[in-house]
Amino acid sequence: MKRPLVILAVFYCLGIILGGWIRINFWVITAMAIAVFAGAALGRRKNGVFLILVLFLTLLIGYLSLRNSWVLSNCHIRKLAADQGNSLYRLDGFIVSQPEFKNNHFWFILRARQIQADKLRYKCRGEVLVKMDFEQELNYGDNLTLMGNLSRPPGFGPSRGYRDFLARQSIYLIMHIKSSLQVIPEDKVTVTKSVTVTFPGPEDKVTVTKSVTDKVTVTKRVTVTLSGQKSVQVIPEDKVTVTKSVTVTLFGQIIRECLGLRYYLEQVISRYLPALPASILSAMVLGQKRDIPWLVNNSMVKSGTVHILVVSGFNVGIVAFTINLLLKILRFRRKARIILIAICLLIYCAITGATNPVIRATVMGLVFLAAYLLKREPDIYNSLASAALFILVPNPRQLLDIGFQLSFISVLAIVYFYPKLKALARLEACRIRILKFILEGCLVSFSAWMGTLVIIALNFRIISLVTVLANILIVPLATLITLCGFTLVLSGLICPDLANLFSLPTAALITLLLNINAALIKLPLAYIYF
């Protein structure tokens, strides 16, 4: 079989779709899957039978994985917390997303470890979306205790869009924090020498995790009074440091560092550009869309060019290309280059928040790199299928996510339609290079438009007729802006004076892009809402 992963991914997706439509008892399907597995094991010498049974088994596994993702464990926070009513909960856990300020609120995801209602305390698992009315210095991995009500996400009409969107990320509850008194950071107190420590303010427990003392060794959990400002009174010459307690593994630590780097890079961009261009460049280079004005986003939806505001395969390609070039200049060997590019792609994926398009592009990139490393012929369909399986196996509900669908279908459409359209238009015969380049751009845009037309029309109720023209004009500009953006960020880190120089052309290109987009959507019949 030429493309085994493609066939497996297709059958796995079919299984997920069937799981959404047909409700059959989980154990009946499991029994069926075991029987098919046994049949495949017994009939492995007959190729045809074996193949059919394996594909059927993949379909059943897809079905089972979706049904299994709906089942919550008994200690899941969704089961322990009553979502209606006014019960006050105390939740212990740690942050698993980079906290961000959006729509006048501070948002992050807390992975719960313990929940307390009244005097009953349970160990639990699951994630809660936390919405805070105020900003507080919090980071990925910080341990926290929150007190507040838990509620289900709002449904917004019969489609329950937002609730379903969160459910696809395994988030079923929201905790709204209105006052800083509801947040208790778990602090780590490091004591050097014997000291008398008094923390003015409301009383709370602090875990002393490490102590280096001359006279007293503090090893057990102690109760001290903790101030909101973390100011401490100490006897002179003694030293007490209060730091945040963090729960992270090595992997978590890497993510934490990557998110810290992202924050720093965002600062670099906003240092050299005014607010609007900085927000657009942050979206294009770092995948941070939160500061993009509604009007800009909406006008790009209307022109069908909103995809340029998302970090995707193109950006991953630029990162790979840049690193490869840099390593080539430094005369690194081929094998070392490939390994370092792979590491950089993973870091870039973490920096941009590992959204579906970035994961797809990163996995595809890694498959290609592995093929080059093993001196095998890379196949784009197989790499696309492996990326789909990589996302869908841990979370099959992502198949219903609009971002996942658009990301994969647009790539699939380009890969499938573009060579056919190119042959049909006989582009190879064209000898004028610029004309050929423009026509190729047209065909790529047209292929992606054909592939995504139905999904966009069904989900956003808009058909953009200006898309192909807009993409021809805007995509090359966006390419240039992304390249300038990466140059600006790198020069901002290395040589700030040079970054000042690079920032002007970048801002000018962004202004040009916005003006072209604004002009295009003013054309008659540029877009149709239905």
Binding site: W294, N500, L501, T511
Partner: protein, 109 residues
């Protein structure tokens, strides 16, 4: 002499080109302040002008219900124009929370 590969040459050209563009734009902005409008995006691209926005555009933002949009337009017609964004608070139905959202959408000219 230095021997550059084709890729290295492209990178050098790109960086030099970008620096040259930067220098030219920097000079133009210094000499002619109107050039700032060419280099940096105008606020109209990111926000709606509250004194010119139509009822349909207001409703289209999805931040304003139809009735409130109507009241905003009526208030604007009554006062001829909004003097500042803060005046939005005087429209019935615009509280602090909604004002925080609306001020990100509009500007006054």
């Amino acid at each position: 002499m230095l021997n550059f590969t084709s890729e290295e040459k492209k990178v050098i050209l790109f960086l030099l080109g970008l620096a040259l563009c930067g220098l030219v734009l920097s000079n133009l902005v210094k000499v002619n302040c109107r050039m700032e409008g060419v280099v940096y995006p105008q606020i109209q691209l990111a926000r709606l002008n509250l004194n010119q926005v139509s009822l349909a555009e207001l409703i289209g933002t999805k931040c304003v219900p139809a009735k409130l949009a109507q009241r905003i337009i009526e208030y604007r017609n009554f006062r001829k124009a909004f003097g500042s964004l803060e005046e939005l608070k005087e429209v019935k139905g615009v509280g602090d929370q909604r004002y925080e959202k609306l001020k990100e959408l509009f500007f006054i000219e």
